[in-house]
């Protein structure tokens, strides 16, 4: 076994190893996690996905999915989730990540047949009501009438049968 490397700055055990090319020569630097953090050596672009969930220094899991046993540390390692329930369990941390990598943090597309996308219907209903008020205020009655019909359909769809 080779001797564990020590941090170039503080003699702690080094866990972050950097290779840098300066003037065509490779320079290697070994850092402990604390010094690496301080120096900003953990490249945010590379670890963006995983770091959104846990900070780079964390060692023990803080959240575990009761359904499949997946932890925040597992996510950090893999960048993938364990099961559909994980989305609920890690919801808050994932929300921040989703706003970074996705267009919006809420779904506006298709839903399985029979699954009523109530959230979407409600949002559309709110929007239609606002638009109708504006149309009435602007005396644009043709548009207002179309919106009134749409609102009636949406309200009916939102009423449990």
């Amino acid at each position: 076994m080779s001797k564990p490397l020590k941090c170039s700055l503080c003699e702690e055990a080094a866990t972050v190893h950097l290779a840098q090319v300066v003037h065509n020569k490779v320079t290697k630097v070994h850092l402990c996690e604390a010094c690496a953090q301080k120096g900003g050596a953990t490249d945010p672009a590379v670890f963006q996905l995983a770091d959104a969930l846990t900070s780079a220094t964390q060692a023990a899991p803080t959240t575990t999915c009761p359904q499949c046993g997946f932890t925040d540390i597992d996510f950090r390692k893999r960048g993938r989730l364990g099961c559909p329930s994980c989305w609920e369990v890690f919801g808050d941390a994932l929300g921040a990540l989703l706003t970074k990598v996705q267009h919006e943090a809420e779904h506006v597309g298709r839903a399985p047949a029979g699954m009523l996308p109530t959230g979407q219907l409600r949002r559309r209903l709110d929007g239609a009501r606002r638009e109708m008020e504006q149309a009435v205020a602007a005396e644009n009655f043709e548009v207002a009438a179309r919106l009134r019909d749409e609102i009636a359909v949406l309200e009916q769809q939102l009423t449990p049968s």
Binding site: L98, H107, V108
Partner: protein, 357 residues
Amino acid sequence: MSVQDILDAESELTHLLGAQQAVVLSTRIRLARNLDGLPFPGWAKVPQRKEIAERCVEALTELPKFRRGHVLRMGELQDRDRAVLVERHLVSKELASGKSGASVISRDQTCSVMINEEDHLRIQVVKAGWHLRGTWHIAEQLDDDLGGRLKMAFSERLGYLTACPTNVGTGLRASAMVHLPGLCLAGHMDKVSRALNQDGLAVRGWLGEGTEAAGNIFQISNQQTLGLSEDAILKHLGGWIKNVVEQEWNARRKLAKDEGERFTDRLARSYGILRHARLLTSAESMNMLSHLRLACDMGCLPEELRHIVDRLMIEGQPAHVQARAGEELDSDGRDRRRASVVREALRDFPEVAAPTA
């Protein structure tokens, strides 16, 4: 049903069952779906992955689209057969490298579903040429049919739940495989790539993620799947593809005009090599075939010969050459075999003429 049947069959991309075109080789739709209440394949235990595979295969084989199709379990296939499937874009490298993955493929090879890849189900539909809406409608129909048989993991707020946060929501990846020799020769490809990246589209090589753009062929796809409707994603991609196709034609026409005889000469030289070479590497043949496809688009060769070029691009790949040979070939053997397949296919091609397009 075996991989040999897939090689022997007349398929959408190799035999031009759909309408084929200049610039856009094919349109592809992919939907990521997962069964409710089961861990994602990367976290599932072996018996769970088995259960997932069985349930998915059963549901898929009931669908009319997959009647007389193929069910292939990766663990039962030879390395070479898995490589053929990857080269045909029927399965990903990731699926081919594992043992518990399976693939269900329609008879005409337009629809293929990967099971136990990163998600339980990856529904894929491909059409030759540029047919975004038509391809989407087939995928939508498959999704509906499958959704009627399997309960999918879905959240009202986040949409279809996937293993990776980059696929959640619609689970939709729409893409076009485009042939851009004009933009490459003119040195504009970096600029075009950057513009696409900045507007949320990914540009990849011929075999997807992390591959080089052999033969000036690129795959352009949407990156975001959440917060946009399927329709908005398709419109966004469609608008850009139209734009890229226009830019490609502008670049081609400018090259043809500026270079004059040298333009025709360049294409004719590639033709000469393909027609007479005794040893052809995979990369060399891709790049020469790219010139030949350009010649067909520009009227230097009859347009109706273009599908032969497209087929050679697919069948000239290493595992295809190997599988066709029926015996183990070394690298020189493959290059010899590839050259002979190409020579044979081009035997009746006329000479390369000056462009008319």
